[in-house]
Amino acid sequence: MKHVIIGAGPAGIVAAETIRKLDADATIVVVGDEPEPPYSRMAIPYLLTRSIGEQGTYLRKQDDHFRQVGIEVVVDRVASVNPGTRSLLLADGPGMQYDTLLVASGSTPILPPVPGIGGDRVTSCWTLEDARRIAAGIRPGSSVVLIGAGFIGCIILEALVSSGARLTVVEMGNRMVPRMLDETCGTLLEKWCNSNGITVMTGSQVEAVEDQGDSALVRISGGRSVEAQLVISAAGVRANAGFLEGAGVDLSDGAVVIDEYMCSSVSGIYAAGDVACGRDFSTGEYSVQAIQPTAVEHGRLAANNMVKHGSVTHQGSMVMNVLDTIGLISASYGQWDGVAGGDSATLEDRENYRYLQLQFEGDRLIGANTLGMTQHIGVLRGLVQGRFSLGAWKDRLKDNPLLIMEAYLAVTQGTG
């Protein structure tokens, strides 16, 4: 059997290694289009703060790891896929046959459609190459404008601040990280950023980036403008599935729609990670989650089905995120924004930047937001994903949401 995997991110690499564990004899090829060893975007913020070197971002640390486990890693770009002949074309190399194909090609940043966005002073923060450019472009005292206070934007704030840059963050939404944090939480995070010397403009849009030679003038809605040496765009991503054009694979918003076996509408073609539109644990709907744990889970499950189709069923992945914004840690789980007819519990300690919000449906926990908490937060996943009936503990949690660990022990171990 020959398994070809498009994409050398976590989903692709986990899939490749999983296949190897299941089938010692299979031929496994990973095609990635960046001229780097497989690495993790999650580690880029720590590269920017210089906590690690580039090697610290690599998914596997040993030089010849992939050769040793018999996984061929090819640096090239897939041009097209032909399901009829089970083959694909590469941009630079020869064609390639496959028995099964995993599309794990991830996503690409989208730049907001404003004049001047393509200028030299504008960069994304997505790849190692982007990171190098940002590191080179910042000097102490530099003015930096960050477009987008989403997950990616926030996670690099510390690196930008610690490099001595003066930072302005422009976010369209009414709060920071609106897709992960509720209004109270996002607003507290904004206050935190302000207290760390960052100018945050929510409900604002960049209207133009004007080149001024040794700087750019960033025009912002409401007649404001900021001069900047560097503009970082972190305004969202889209799935990387252009090469599937004509292959007959069903897409939704550009992402590959997959079934419970991680298989696309075309037999033999699977998808995983940011490029896949998969089942959501909480809602049962299909969506792109674009998070590390889901990418890995997709990769593992896809690999199992690529080796033996139908062997493992995907029950749906849970959305969860953790974000460190200049030392203030926030997290979200599942349906943190609640459901109609649901119920919630909140603990709010604005002074100390602590916040915990739990969402219930009936007596089950379905989602949560946390801010300023680092201990035992994983158990929120356990509670949501276990769909445990909380019984009397729901009221106790409404009284004191901090008792999540106790509630978990009580419902799983019959304590209390």
Partner: protein, 618 residues
């Protein structure tokens, strides 16, 4: 090392908080906790000061082993001048706040002055602040605990607080920490309330390090934990039965003071004993005792966690008392039970809960109720004072009524809050007060355990069993058996116990370890942890020094050898039943010898020679 070497000084009058280095020269002489805090008291207060005035200090002090892995290393003490006795007070408590304070980086907190309004001290590691507590004033300890936890949002915050009894001026109010551990005796809670200090909340995440020789310390503590585990009392008796293991034993030897010490045996002792706590109840099939529980780092775990029968009259329709909480210890069960003649386990558990909830010393409370009952029996108190409640020996209803009154200080509760001595004086029968230096006796009748007579009479904080627990020798044969009915040799025994205990109380360890340990077992642990060479001789010397300094403080506070006595009942009225039948306490046969081996004058004053021998401060 092992000391954090830092003191938090809190001037309540000015709302000023300062950090200062621990006086290590004094630490070398007085170890920590009880001894070292007494040294600070001696330095900083006028022994003649008004205990409830701003001139008094209130010190929360840990020992060098507090917060370490040494078994029972979770202790702290509250040291101040007592409003109940006018003498130095040191009340020792377990639970978790002592270790938490140490983990936050502090050996001691010294409170000075008096806050203009209610406050509590909130400590998070090196950060300490006084927080307004107008909303907490008038609340019970339990309610205060809940509200402060709500504010800190951290379930790991450890809290010590005073209840409504302290606010109302009850003279035996305790400082309660971790909901049901108490720095219980001598009214240390009353002093805290007098300073408008409602609570101390601590969160410490720095940990305790600085161990001099970590490998030796771990080896030594592991070895000594094994000694505790293999000892019948600390390894089996205390974890299974708690201190209540003593109820039937002490009753059998005729030393269980009953009905305000009129008798020495209680007919219903078996109904309120450890064994009774394990009997399934008829109503719900559950025993009073749910489980045993440990204080921080304690491998004995003598603590009791209990429930009250939900159908019992004391808690009917009061679901807030239906859950588990701190159950009865021997002294509490005796004072509120045998001494009042009440043989109702649920009633005692309820009054115990309330003592924790509103911060009263259950020994003084029970003994004061016992005195009130005798005054009632004599007609000195009538139902006019008690709103019609008949204060009869054996009445659980009366006991429950009393605890509710003292908790709030309402009505007759104010009288009961005076303690036995002032109550008996007020109602014209000072001889009925079973106290020494104004503090109520604990649960061993000195007619049946002679050494305890000398213990009580000479205790530096008034009647107390924890200053020299000769019961260990006279009843349990630890470290060797002596005859409880004879006075010979007891002066030396008491002195030895007093000195050793003063050292134990200054290290951060629990005195209950001494059922299995002697200073031989403790010295190696302290020595491995702390700078300086610590051997048994040095500990004994420090213990004796501490004892003498406490004594000196009391003499300067106006006490004298004349206060080293017992109520006439114990000296003149012979025990009427049991092995001690016909006996009185032979204090006069022990006291002169005791003074002599202490190196004091025949009036009980320190001599210059003794002061010099221990390098006591001038």
């Amino acid at each position: 090392m092992s000391w954090t070497k830092k003191i938090l000084r809190v001037n309540l009058t000015e709302g000023r908080i300062e950090e200062e280095p621990l006086n290590m020269e004094w630490a070398a002489q007085y170890i920590g906790q009880r001894g070292l805090a007494t040294r600070y008291m001696f330095e900083e207060t006028d022994p003649g000061c008004d205990p409830l005035g701003p001139g008094n200090r209130l010190i929360f002090a840990t020992g060098p082993l507090t917060g370490t892995m040494a078994s029972t290393g979770g202790r702290y003490s509250v040291i101040t001048k007592s409003p109940l006795t006018g003498a130095i007070a040191c009340s020792n408590s377990g639970g978790f706040i002592g270790a938490e304070l140490k983990s936050a980086g502090w050996d001691m907190i010294i409170f000075e002055g008096k806050s203009p309004g209610p406050v509590y001290l909130n400590i998070v590691n090196e950060h300490a602040e006084l927080v307004g507590a107008d909303d907490l004033w008038g609340k019970s300890v339990w309610e205060t605990d809940r509200l402060i936890h709500e504010r800190t949002g951290d379930p790991q915050t450890r809290i010590a607080a005073v209840g409504r009894s302290a606010e109302a001026g009850c003279l035996y109010a305790a400082v309660i920490n971790d909901l049901h551990r108490a720095a219980g005796r001598s009214g240390v809670g009353t002093v805290m309330a007098s300073k408008n200090l409602k609570a101390v909340a601590v969160r410490g995440t720095r940990g305790v390090g600085n161990i001099k020789d970590p490998a030796r310390f771990l080896r030594s503590t592991t070895e000594q934990k094994k000694v505790l585990a293999e000892n019948a009392v600390t390894g089996q008796g205390l974890p299974a039965m708690g201190t209540q293991v003593l109820m039937n034993v002490i009753n059998e030897i005729g030393a269980l003071p009953t009905n305000n010490m009129q008798e020495v045996q209680f007919k219903d002792a078996n109904k309120i004993s450890a064994e009774a706590m394990q009997e399934p109840r008829e109503s719900d099939g559950k025993p009073n005792l749910t489980t045993n529980a440990a204080c921080f780092g304690c491998t004995i775990a003598c603590g009791r966690i209990s429930t009250i029968d939900q159908g019992h009259f004391s808690v009917e329709n009061k679901p807030e008392y239906w859950g588990n909480s701190g159950g009865l210890e021997y002294e509490a069960a005796w004072a509120m039970g045998a001494d009042t003649g009440v043989g109702d386990l649920d009633a005692l558990t309820y009054t115990n809960f309330v003592c924790n909830e509103d911060g009263m010393d259950p020994i003084s409370f029970g003994a004061t109720v016992a005195a009130a009952m005798e005054l009632y029996e004599k007609g000195a108190i009538t139902s006019e004072q008690t709103d019609g409640m008949e204060l009869r020996f054996g009445s659980a209803e009366a006991l429950v009524w009393c605890v509710q009154k003292v908790a709030t200080g309402e009505g007759f509760g104010a009288d009961l809050g005076l303690g036995s001595r002032k109550l008996c004086e007020k109602y014209g029968h000072p001889d009925l007060s079973m106290t020494v230096k104004g503090q109520e006796f604990p649960a061993y009748d000195p007619r049946g355990v002679q050494g305890m007579g000398l213990t009580y009479a000479t205790s530096n904080r008034g009647a107390c069993h924890l200053r020299s627990y000769t019961v260990a020798s006279e009843v349990l044969g630890i470290p060797e058996k002596t005859d409880p009915l004879v006075t010979d040799g007891k002066a030396g025994l008491v002195k030895a116990f007093q000195d050793a205990t003063a050292a134990v109380d200054s290290m951060g360890l629990c005195v209950f370890t001494t059922f299995a340990w002697t200073l031989d077992n403790m010295a190696p642990q302290l020595d491995a942890a702390c700078e300086g060479d610590w051997d048994v001789d040095r500990l004994l010397e420090a213990g004796e020094r501490i004892w003498n300094l406490e004594r000196e403080y009391n003499m300067r506070a106006g006490l004298s050898g004349a206060d080293d006595t017992l109520p006439p009942r114990l000296l003149k009225d012979a025990a009427r039943t049991g092995p001690a039948e016909g006996k009185v306490c032979g204090l006069d046969q022990m006291l002169p010898e005791y003074y002599s081996i202490r190196g004091w004058t025949e009036n009980g004053q320190l001599t210059d020679e003794t002061r010099k021998r221990f390098a006591l401060p001038a």
